[in-house]
Structures are given as C-alpha cells and as structure tokens.
Symmetry: C2
C-alpha cells in the first residue's frame, strides 16, 4: 500500500491529530486557527479529501464525525525527509544535520541522545 505524500495543508492537519489524537473537524479547525485564519468548511473539505485518500480514518456513527490519522507519523516523516534531503541538500545528510544543529536551540539531553546514536553508528565503521 502506497503512502501518499501529504500536501502542506494536509500535513498541518496530520500534526494536530498526531499531537492530540482522534478529534472532530471543529477541534482541528480551532487549532489551525491559532496559527492562521482558516474557514471551517475549508478544514472540513480537506479532511474529507484526506479520508478519501485513506490518510485519515473516520468514525461516522454519530452526526459529528471523529477523524484520526491513518498514517504513522514516523513513516510520513521518513518519506518527507528523504525527499527533502535529496531536493534541498542533494542527499548529504551530514550537511543537513550540521545546519539543523547549528540553527536551533537543542537541549543537552537531546544532544547527548544524538551523541549516543553517533557512537552506535561509528561502532560499525
């Protein structure tokens, strides 16, 4: 089964559902509105399209439908990252990593975690 690449607007909706779990259109719409004014029916239409693509599941036993992400966060992140890495960094993961760490404020704990992963990877070299 092929995972379709979500569009920008679809990804925003997936983020809300991944973060907060199954929810209504209204809930999702209100979250989106915190970042950017979005009409209710716009969000509804997108979620219906996503359901059509089997990107979202839907419980329609009650009048107010409950939607949930039907694709795994990790899978989508991996898919998008692969494409982004190629398109933007010509496949150089280290360049991307250097940029990412250079910019952001990442906690000591997270840096340690990355260091552990490095140890693990370099173990085999």
């Amino acid at each position: 089964m092929k995972i379709p690449k979500p569009t920008d607007a679809e990804l925003e909706i997936l983020q809300v559902l991944w973060e907060h779990g199954a929810n209504t259109v209204r809930f999702v719409n209100e979250h989106l509105n915190e970042k950017k004014e979005t009409g209710y029916t716009t969000t509804l239409k997108l979620m219906q399209i996503m359901h059509g693509k089997e990107m979202l599941s839907r419980d329609d036993r009650n009048r107010t439908h409950i939607f949930d992400a039907a694709v795994k966060e990790d899978d989508i992140q991996k898919e998008l990252l692969d494409k982004f890495l190629d398109a933007t960094f010509r496949g150089s993961a280290s360049k991307l990593v250097m940029h990412a760490l250079g910019n952001s404020q990442t906690s000591k704990e997270e840096l340690d975690q990355i260091r552990q992963l490095l140890d693990q990877l370099e173990g085999g070299k």
Copy 2:
C-alpha cells in the same frame, strides 16, 4: 531584500547551477532530463520566471544567455530547513537529526565532523 522561497521545480534548477556554476538553459535542461523528461521551453520559461524574481542572474550579451544562481545555497537551505523542521517535525531538531542519521549512510569523516559540532555546542551548556 527578501529571499523568495523557491518552488520544487525552481529548486531543481538552482541545484544544477549551484553544483555546476553559471550555464545555459540547454545545459540545465539536459541535466534535468537525466532525472525526468522535461521540455526545453519548460526549463526556459522557469528560468525566465526565476530571473524575473531575481533568483537567477542573466548574461544576455550573446544570443545564448548564461544564467547563474543569484541566491546563496546556504541561505536557501537554511530557509527551507526552518520551514521543513516546523511543518514536519514540529520544530524538534533532534528528532529530525535522529531520522536523518538513522536512514542514510554517512561516512566516518562526516560523523566525526558532526561529533565536533556537538562538542562545541555542549561546551556552552
């Protein structure tokens, strides 16, 4: 001066120019064709649009124009990475880095370089 976010097709053209330096439409088009069939005038039109946006410079002293990237690779990568990080990983750089290193085959030299950066970053914590 505002850097406009390049579209996917525009980014592919920038990659060719960043990698190979100033060149003709034909050269760029032939490179793009290695990955995906693209009509000559399609590439031409895109490069004209990009020139209009000041994303490319153009030397039109001769009939065959020579185009070059007018935006810095690092700047565009930073801009795109920031947006990608927010949209896809909700801003968690460490999660992105773990994914990126987990997937790819990165050389020992590159891993060491990343480790150095970690040392440097953790120095201040």
